[in-house]
Amino acid sequence: MKKSMVLLLAGISMSALLTAGCANKEAVKKEEAVVPPVSVEKAVPVAPVEQAQPVEQTAPVQDAVASAVSPQEAMSPVAENRLETVYFDFDKSDLRQDTRDVLSKNAEVILKTLAGAKIQIEGHTDERGSAEYNLALGERRAKSAQQYLTTLGVKAENTSVISYGEEKPAVAGNDEGAWAKNRRAEFVVVK
């Protein structure tokens, strides 16, 4: 009984989607609601085929969100390249001298060429230590970088932080060389 209902409904939805594009509009609208406003323009080109599915399950909606995120990441390097990544010592979030120097340069770039831009500071750790503790540690690193930028005149409301902990290493490998490159804060222009 339930099965036949499901089939019937699936059939109706298929015919509804095939006969006219109206249902698509609904799906698109629904999606835009969950996509962060930043990436709306880029999110539109997502293949309409995928949009036909959200009625059936929630996963494709999430997929669409995830794929909507990537164009945003793709567009950032242009600006991002001018903002250098800074590095940290093991289990530390305080700023080394070289880290401060790089942050000063970054602050200059931001104040000169990126006034009003929204910058997200991503905190990362190496793979050692517990994944959960590293999330907190990564956030601490991003926040010390954020605070330093603020003291150099970058408006606090233009920066935000996110921690990825050990989830997004810059380089693979499990030696000090790799770890040192992964204990970092990156700067991503999000708008």
Binding site: K2, M5, V6, L8, L9, A10, I12, S13, S15, A16, T19, A20, C22, A23, E26, V55, E56, Q57, A59
Partner: protein, 257 residues
Amino acid sequence: MNSRNLRIDTGMSVSFIASAVIHLAVFLLLAWYGRLMPLQTPIQETYYVDVVNLPTANPQSGDSAQKPAESEAPPPPPVLTPPAMALPPSVISPKAVSKPAMVPVPQKSEAPDTAFAERMAKLERSAEARREEAVFDKLRSKLKTGGSSKIGMPGAGGAEAGSRYGDYIKSRLEDALKVTSSYSTKNPEVVVRLTIAPDGRLSGVKIERSSGDATFELAVRRAIDLASAKFTAPPGRTVYENGFVFKPKSISSGTSR
């Protein structure tokens, strides 16, 4: 549902706007339906239609057929108590068939078929059973590492009868524990209060304390089970009750596995 289907078809031919409205309705309906009964369920709640708790042999009633008066004679072959229940049809002689066991049972319906159980018991008392018992006893005594089974048999009575009977029970329990002993912690200890009815039947088993070694607890319970088959009646036909502290003899035997 069917009428809606029809409306979709006609709506298409009538006007685009009507179509849009209907599709919106269908979409909302689907969204609503999907919320109530999602089409994709990654994990099904597993269920059993029915679970029947089958009757098991009562550990204490097992040897009621044994005559309590026997004391000095070698133990008679203990009667194997058949679990009171229906049998698969393939096994039993036609007259013994009560109910086919594998017919899907709607719920707990089969009461213990006692008549059948008695028949089974009779079958078990056959010569075949006696032969098995002889083999069984031989094997069982092989497992024992030593010690005469005659130690501490109760005397005829008198003032010391209680303690003598206690020694006798202790001896039976130790013989049984030799067979079942198993433990997984260093110094396990289980304290059990046993009650033995005037006819020699074990009428009460209460674990008073345990060091928490599940393996040794099991060994003790099995030893009591095993020994109680051979308990004789307490002297003076009174109820005997005492506490017993079970411990492995650990000096010589290794504890780790």
